[in-house]
């Protein structure tokens, strides 16, 4: 007995005979295509190796795609001794490009931060996207010298170029439900070798409370040392929150989401006992691994010893009032 089954395939969906017969040809072509791309990747790798030795022709090419618009100098940190450009750009924590401090500088050489768009989502009037070129036109750029304290017990002084995050938030038009803001970094397995390792729960996610995000100190950085942000420092745009540990500064941001509930950040997931949502620099709250009452200043040399870590990394005057009444030991 033959049971006739009704088919739900429309005649229009059936592959035409000539295309079907061409299938082998197509597969062949695809095969060649793969070969060609892998060969290209090989040469790219060769170029990358070259670039490390000579003065990075590839890096220069991408630099010309977006030069930094004019910016004004500010009084922020004008008396601080800057960490050298070399140290700022070769000693990085950017796990997407590898967990070694020197790996991001090497592995991010071929990274393409242009073209780049950032999407705005969540508790906003309307979801929208914006290109990096348009973002830098939202507000005048300024240079600010900030101290940066890493949770690992070292610190730097960096001349960032950027604009207050508050300006971007104003443009994003969050609604009244927005209590927090979440930043999502790019997780591109092709360009970022570290993303292929299950070391963190990719993509890298960070967050701030709305008032923290609106604080005049909170910066969206697009450059440092007067030039476009180097890839290893989070090109094309990253967050800088100088009174918090460095890991709060999400790099290579692709998504900004406004939320009603406190976002769970990547490091909170990775070590809930070690990394809290606030992550304010606090010499009184111990970390299970590193001393937080003192720090090593990068570039100070082998015999410089440690310097005392300041409450809120020395920015208490600007940010202290936001945490009045909050138990900072509990909300570390």
């Amino acid at each position: 007995m033959i049971i006739q089954q009704k088919t739900d395939i429309l005649p229009s969906e059936i592959t035409p005979k000539e295309v079907f017969e061409n299938r082998r040809h197509f597969i062949k072509q695809a095969g060649f295509g793969l070969l060609a791309t892998s060969a290209l990747a090989q040469t790219n790798l060769l170029f990358a190796a070259d670039a490390t030795r000579s003065n990075a022709p590839i890096g220069k090419a991408s630099k010309s795609l977006l030069s930094l618009p004019n910016f004004t100098k500010t009084a922020y940190g004008k008396d601080e001794k800057l960490t050298s450009y070399d140290d700022v750009t070769t000693y990085n924590n950017f796990y997407e490009f590898g967990t070694g401090k020197g790996e991001p500088a090497t592995n991010a050489k071929l990274f393409k931060p242009h073209p780049w768009t950032i999407s705005i989502e969540g508790e906003v009037k309307k979801n929208k996207t914006i290109s990096i070129e348009d973002i830098v036109k939202l507000a005048p750029l300024e240079e600010r010298i900030y101290r940066m304290r890493c949770v690992e017990g070292w610190s730097m002084v960096i001349p960032w170029v950027g604009f207050p995050l508050a300006q971007l938030i104003k443009w994003a038009e969050p609604n009244t439900n927005a209590k927090y803001i979440e930043f999502v970094s790019l997780a591109d397995t092709q360009q970022m070798p570290g993303v292929n390792l299950p070391i963190l729960d990719w993509p890298y996610t960070e967050g701030l409370r709305m008032d923290e995000a609106m604080n005049p100190l909170t910066l969206m950085a697009v450059g440092l040392y007067g030039e476009k942000l180097p890839n290893q420092n989070g090109a094309p745009m990253r967050l800088v929150v100088p009174w918090k540990y460095g890991f709060k500064g999400a790099k290579s941001i692709v998504k900004i989401r406004f939320t009603e509930k406190m976002p769970i950040t990547t490091w909170m997931k990775a070590g809930p006992k070690e990394y809290g949502f606030y992550a304010n620099v606090n010499p009184q709250v111990e970390h299970p691994r590193w001393t937080q009452s003192s720090e090593k200043r990068i570039g100070a040399g082998l015999f410089a010893g440690r310097i005392k870590t300041q409450m809120f990394n020395g920015y208490t005057e600007q940010v202290g009032q936001m945490y009045a009444g909050l138990d900072l030991r509990k909300h570390f």
């Binding site: 070399d86 140290d87 070769t90 000693y91 796990y95 967990t99 401090k101 020197g102 690992e152 070292w154 390792l197 070391i199 963190l200 990775a270 070590g271 111990e286 299970p288 691994r289 590193w290 001393t291 009452s293 003192s294 090593k296 990068i298 570039g299 040399g301 082998l302 015999f303 010893g305 440690r306």
Partner: protein
């Protein structure tokens, strides 16, 4: 074939002395490198951490090398490399001492208040400090005189080297933030080195009890 024969041969006293000297020089290469890098400004952006990590790494590496000589004997039957144990052990002590000195002096500037806090509050520092304290008596009793004086007790005392190695790997593991691939590698190596010993020990016990059983059996017959 010739190489195999050469390996099979036990080197004579003079040759042992030469190999020992080469090993000694090789063990000092990482130290020389640090001095060279220090002079040439090559200790990275965070030089204190660099020298801390480097000396700690070499202490662990040489310790594992020391612990690999017995498995070499058990697995391949070479007895003569055991003669390098003392020197390698002392080399490990040299790097561990450098490691501790850099920590106390360059990192913490002998600020005992901060040092005690760091040791008590951070498990990985505590474990590391414990491991180092345990190596001191081993280094002090590593001479012929103490060996003869302590005899059986010397053997028992020097068994702590296994504990030191485990503490050393734990120290490394706990200090790492998230990417545990490197300490995992050393944990596996240590596991293998201890595993080989355990395997042979168990086999020895088994064959012994087998013999006793057979003896009893023959007696009862």
């Amino acid at each position: 074939m010739q190489i195999k024969q050469l390996l099979r041969r036990t080197p004579n006293k003079k040759q042992i002395g030469r190999i020992k000297f080469v090993l000694f020089v090789l063990c000092l290469v990482p130290f020389m490198r640090l001095i060279w890098l220090c002079i040439n400004n090559g200790l990275s952006a965070n030089p204190i951490e660099f020298v801390e990590r480097s000396t700690g790494f070499w202490a662990l590496f040489i310790l594992l090398l020391t612990l690999s000589l017995s498995p070499i004997r058990l697995l391949f039957g070479y007895v003569w490399p055991l003669q390098f144990r003392r020197m390698l052990g002392l080399m490990m002590f040299f790097y561990a001492s450098l490691h501790i000195t850099i920590y106390l002096w360059l990192d913490y500037g002998f600020d005992w208040n901060d040092i005690v806090k760091d040791i008590i509050k951070h498990p990985y520092v505590l474990v590391g400090a414990l491991a180092y304290l345990l190596t001191v008596p081993l280094a002090l009793t590593s001479n012929q005189y103490m060996m003869q004086k302590l005899r059986e007790r010397w053997k028992q005392l020097h068994l702590t080297v296994y504990l030191i190695a485990i503490l050393g790997v734990v120290h490394f593991w706990w200090l790492v933030k998230k990417d545990i691939r490197e300490p995992l590698f050393y944990a596996v190596v240590l596991g293998l080195l201890l595993g080989v010993r355990l395997f042979y020990k168990l086999r020895q016990i088994k064959s012994k009890s087998e013999k006793i059983r057979k003896m009893k059996l023959s007696l009862s017959v």
